[in-house]
C-alpha cells in the first residue's frame, strides 16, 4: 500500500482526545524539566524519549478501529488490537529515528546554530524512521500479514 494522507481524518479526533494528548505532552515536558533541574541533565535527558502519549495513542487507535467496524455491524475488538500492534511497530521504527535525532543533536549542538541543529536533527529523525519503515516492508517477508491488515 502506498503512503497517503487523508486530512479529513483530523476532523474525526474528538475534543477529549486532543485534551488527553495536549495534557500528557505538556505534563511530560514539565516533568522532564523538573527532573533535569533536580537530578541534572543526565537523568532529565532520559525523559526526553519517554513514551508519554504512546499508551493513550495506541488505545485511541484501537478504539477508532473498533468504532469503525461497529458502524458496519462487525465486532472490531481483535482488529483494533491488530491495528494497535501495527501502530506500536511503527513507533519502534520511529524510535530508531529518535536515537538518530539525539545522537546528531548531542554531537552538533555545541558547534552549530541551535535552530539549524534542531531542524537538521528533525530531518534525520524523519529520514531514519521512514528509511527503517521502507526497509522493513522490502526485506521482511512477514510484512505481507501487516500489509493485509493495513490495506482495509
Amino acid at each position: 500500500m502506498v503512503v497517503h494522507a487523508r486530512f479529513a481524518a483530523i476532523k474525526g479526533i474528538k475534543l477529549h482526545e486532543w485534551i488527553i494528548r495536549f495534557v500528557a505532552g505538556g505534563a511530560i515536558c514539565v516533568i522532564a524539566g523538573l527532573i533535569a533541574n533536580a537530578c541534572g541533565p543526565e537523568l532529565g535527558g532520559l525523559f526526553l524519549a519517554f513514551p508519554a502519549i504512546f499508551p493513550a495513542g495506541a488505545s485511541l487507535v484501537e478504539a477508532h478501529e473498533k468504532q469503525h467496524k461497529a458502524r458496519i455491524g462487525y465486532d472490531g475488538t481483535v482488529r483494533g488490537r491488530q491495528i494497535a500492534a501495527l501502530d506500536a511497530f511503527g513507533a519502534a521504527m520511529g524510535c530508531v529515528g529518535l536515537a538518530g535525532f539525539a545522537l546528531f543533536f548531542w554531537l552538533w549542538s555545541p558547534r552549530a546554530s541551535s535552530f539549524l541543529t534542531l531542524v537538521l536533527a528533525t530531518l534525520i529523525w524523519l529520514n531514519l524512521a521512514v528509511g527503517c519503515w521502507m526497509l522493513r516492508r522490502k526485506m521482511i517477508p512477514g510484512h505481507k500479514t501487516s500489509h493485509r491488515v493495513d490495506a482495509h
Binding site: 494528548r21 500492534a85 511503527g90 529518535l98 535525532f101 539525539a102 521512514v130
Partner: protein, 115 residues
C-alpha cells in the same frame, strides 16, 4: 524551583508539539507508517529548544546524549508491545501501561552504563 511562567511555557509548547505529531499520525495511512509519529521527537523538540534558551547548548547537548538511552528503551518497549498485541491481542491501553516498566528498566540500565 523553576518559575511558574517557565513551567507554563514548557507545558504549552510540549502539548502543542505532541498534538501536532498526533495530528500527523491521524492523517497518514497505512497505520504502520502513521505509527512512526508515535516515536517522533515531540517532547525533545519542545524541551531542547527551551533548555538551550535557558541553560545553553552544552546543557542541552548532555540531555541529548542521555536521550539516546531513552530512545533505545522506547524502541524495546514498543517492539514488546507490538509482539504482545499481535500474538495475544490484549487491550492496547492495559498492555502499553503494563509494559512501561520495560522502558524504565532498559533506560536506567543504559543510563547507568553510559554515565
Amino acid at each position: 524551583m523553576q518559575h511558574l511562567p517557565e513551567l507554563l511555557a514548557r507545558f504549552l509548547i510540549g502539548g502543542a508539539f505532541v498534538c501536532f505529531f498526533s495530528a500527523l499520525a491521524e492523517v497518514f495511512r497505512p497505520k504502520s507508517f502513521a505509527g512512526l509519529f508515535g516515536g517522533a521527537p515531540s517532547i525533545a523538540l519542545a524541551t531542547l529548544a527551551l533548555t538551550i534558551a535557558e541553560k545553553g547548548k552544552t546543557y542541552a547537548s548532555i540531555e541529548a546524549h542521555f536521550m539516546i538511552c531513552g530512545a533505545i528503551a522506547f524502541c524495546c518497549y514498543a517492539m514488546t508491545a507490538c509482539w504482545i498485541l499481535r500474538r495475544h491481542k490484549p487491550p492496547a491501553l492495559t498492555t502499553t501501561l503494563a509494559l512501561l516498566p520495560i522502558w524504565f528498566a532498559v533506560s536506567f540500565a543504559l543510563w547507568s552504563a553510559a554515565r
